[in-house]
């Protein structure tokens, strides 16, 4: 049965669907045209990945993924922290998380969805790529911040944490 569409009529005295699409289009032009932050999404192929039967853990280089897809998003990388590894006395420079803000319409055009556990590669330089694992897929966008002035949600904020080469290295 087809899902029933209900028109959004709030703010309709001074804001409507056309305005919404216009503003989103301008935003995307700025983000994808001017900023042009590019990331690579590695969606985990859960059926092909060689998982452990008990713990569901994959060995090194055993994670299988769908063909990588480039996408554009606004990227904020947190500052690294020099801190102890857990409660030990082992200190090391812990890279910061990545916060990805992506237009939902862009994802829809690419036909992709970003889920928990997917990996994202972000090229820090021509030769160096850092991989992150999605820890918050930003699927819930009901809050005011993610809606355009309360009209409709238009982007997702995804938080991903760095992973070790031992877990994933894009191979």
């Amino acid at each position: 049965m087809a899902q029933r569409n209900v028109p959004i009529t709030r703010l309709n005295k001074f804001f409507g669907a056309e305005d919404f699409h216009l503003d989103v289009g301008m935003g995307r032009e700025w983000l994808e045209g001017d900023m042009n932050f590019t990331l690579v999404l590695y969606r985990v192929d859960k059926t092909k990945t060689d998982n452990d039967d008990i713990y569901g853990e994959a060995g090194k280089d055993s994670i299988k993924f769908h063909p990588p897809i480039e996408f554009k998003a606004f990227v904020q990388v947190s500052a690294p922290e020099n801190k102890f590894l857990g409660n030990s006395k082992l200190d090391q420079m812990e890279p910061g998380n990545i916060r990805i803000s992506v237009y939902q319409s862009h994802l829809d055009e690419l036909g992709i969805d970003i889920e928990f556990g997917d990996y994202v590669g972000y090229y820090e330089s021509e030769k160096r790529v850092r991989y992150y694992s999605v820890a918050n897929d930003g699927r819930v966008v009901s809050d005011n911040k993610h809606t355009y002035g309360g009209y409709k949600a238009f982007y997702r904020t995804i938080v991903a944490v760095p992973v070790n080469e031992n877990e994933f290295r894009g191979l």
Partner: protein
């Protein structure tokens, strides 16, 4: 199918010693490749020994590769320098899990093996060995080697495994639990047999949602060692064979020293003094003796008690009257003074039987 229990899976190619022979073997190892003295054993030796124990006895394999064990103790100075030059670090020069590392608790406490007892004060030297020597003049002698009592110490270590997979945790846990199935394991450090006790296992894994996740488990151990400092060893010459010559004149006569005969030691006087206002005195005899009265001063009459049993009043006044006292008997004399404002005394003659 599992093998029957009686089938030995590992056969030692070297003969194994048991009982006293094994004890002697352990003692011999203390001096092996060394001098007659035991090898010095200090904090750094114990630390090295524990690291070797972790590397050799607690090593595991993951995905066909040996899990690296950091072969150095984490101290305040070395860690940053060391880890950045480690040969299995990532792009950020951080160590890639899985790996095993050892952290020592900086404070070292007085040891509890064999038990917490402070037995010998002041670092007294004890005989350890007597070693034959040849002096400068070619004469044979002996050197006495002495050492102080070794000082027991308890050193606490945390062996931590950092990894990404539960299987690696399981593998390490199995290795440790099997090794310490009887609570303790032993290691040999410079020939000394040192027990290690497993204290606790704790989990310090990072499971926060928006942080890089990894497992970290910490196994705490107590190494029950002892300190032997070779600077405290002492080597002293013992008696050496010497040639002693005496020249004796032939014209001198030997003067005889008069022989001293000790006096009669079986009879002596015993005095009971009674200050003013005191009318009773007791004494415990540590020998068997006959006592008779010598004289009385300012005493009109007296009563004798032996072990609190009444013996009699003025019972040894006559010269032929005596009282036998046995070893550990308590003699009590109660007097009546002639003049109560003066001191009194009863003098007895004691003859040992």
């Amino acid at each position: 199918m599992a093998l029957p229990k009686k089938i030995k899976k590992n056969i030692s190619l070297e003969p194994q010693l048991f009982g006293p022979a094994r004890r002697q073997e352990l003692l011999d190892k203390i001096q092996e490749h060394g001098t007659y003295l035991p090898k010095s054993l200090l904090h750094e030796d114990l630390d090295r020994g524990f690291l070797d124990f972790v590397k050799d006895e607690l090593g595991i394999v993951s995905e066909g590769k040996k899990v690296p064990v950091l072969d150095i103790l984490i101290t305040t100075q070395n860690w940053a320098q060391f880890t950045k030059t480690w040969n299995f670090n990532d792009l950020d020069k951080n160590i890639v899990p899985p790996f095993v590392t050892t952290v020592r608790t900086p404070e070292v406490k007085y040891g509890s093996t064999p038990s917490l007892q402070y037995t010998i004060p002041n670092r007294r030297q004890y005989f350890y060995a007597m070693v034959p020597t040849w002096g400068d003049d070619g004469r044979k002698g002996m050197d006495v080697y002495t050492i102080p009592q070794p000082v027991p110490v308890d050193i606490k270590y945390s062996v931590k495994i950092i990894c990404n997979r539960m299987r690696e945790l399981n593998s390490f846990n199995k290795k440790v639990i099997e090794k310490f199935s009887s609570r303790q394991a032993y290691t040999q450090i410079k020939g000394h047999y040192i027990p290690i006790i497993m204290d606790d296992v704790s989990d310090e894994s990072v499971m926060e949602l928006e942080k890089r996740k990894f497992y970290m488990q910490s196994y705490s151990f107590t190494l029950m060692g002892f300190l032997i400092d070779e600077n405290e060893f002492e080597v002293k010459p013992a008696v050496s064979r010497t040639l002693a010559l005496f020249e004796v004149g032939s014209d001198s006569k030997r003067i005889k020293k008069p022989r001293q005969i000790p006096g009669n030691t079986t009879i002596y006087n015993e005095s009971f003094d009674f200050p003013i206002s005191v009318t009773s005195q007791t004494k415990t005899f540590e020998y068997t003796a006959n006592i008779t009265l010598e004289n009385l001063t300012n005493v009109s009459s007296y009563d004798l008690y032996v072990n609190n049993l009444y013996f009699g009043a003025n019972a040894i006044n006559l010269p032929n009257q005596k009282l036998q006292i046995n070893t550990n008997d308590i003699l009590k004399i109660e007097i009546t003074k002639t003049n109560s404002s003066e001191t009194s005394s009863v003098k007895l003659i004691t003859k040992l039987v």
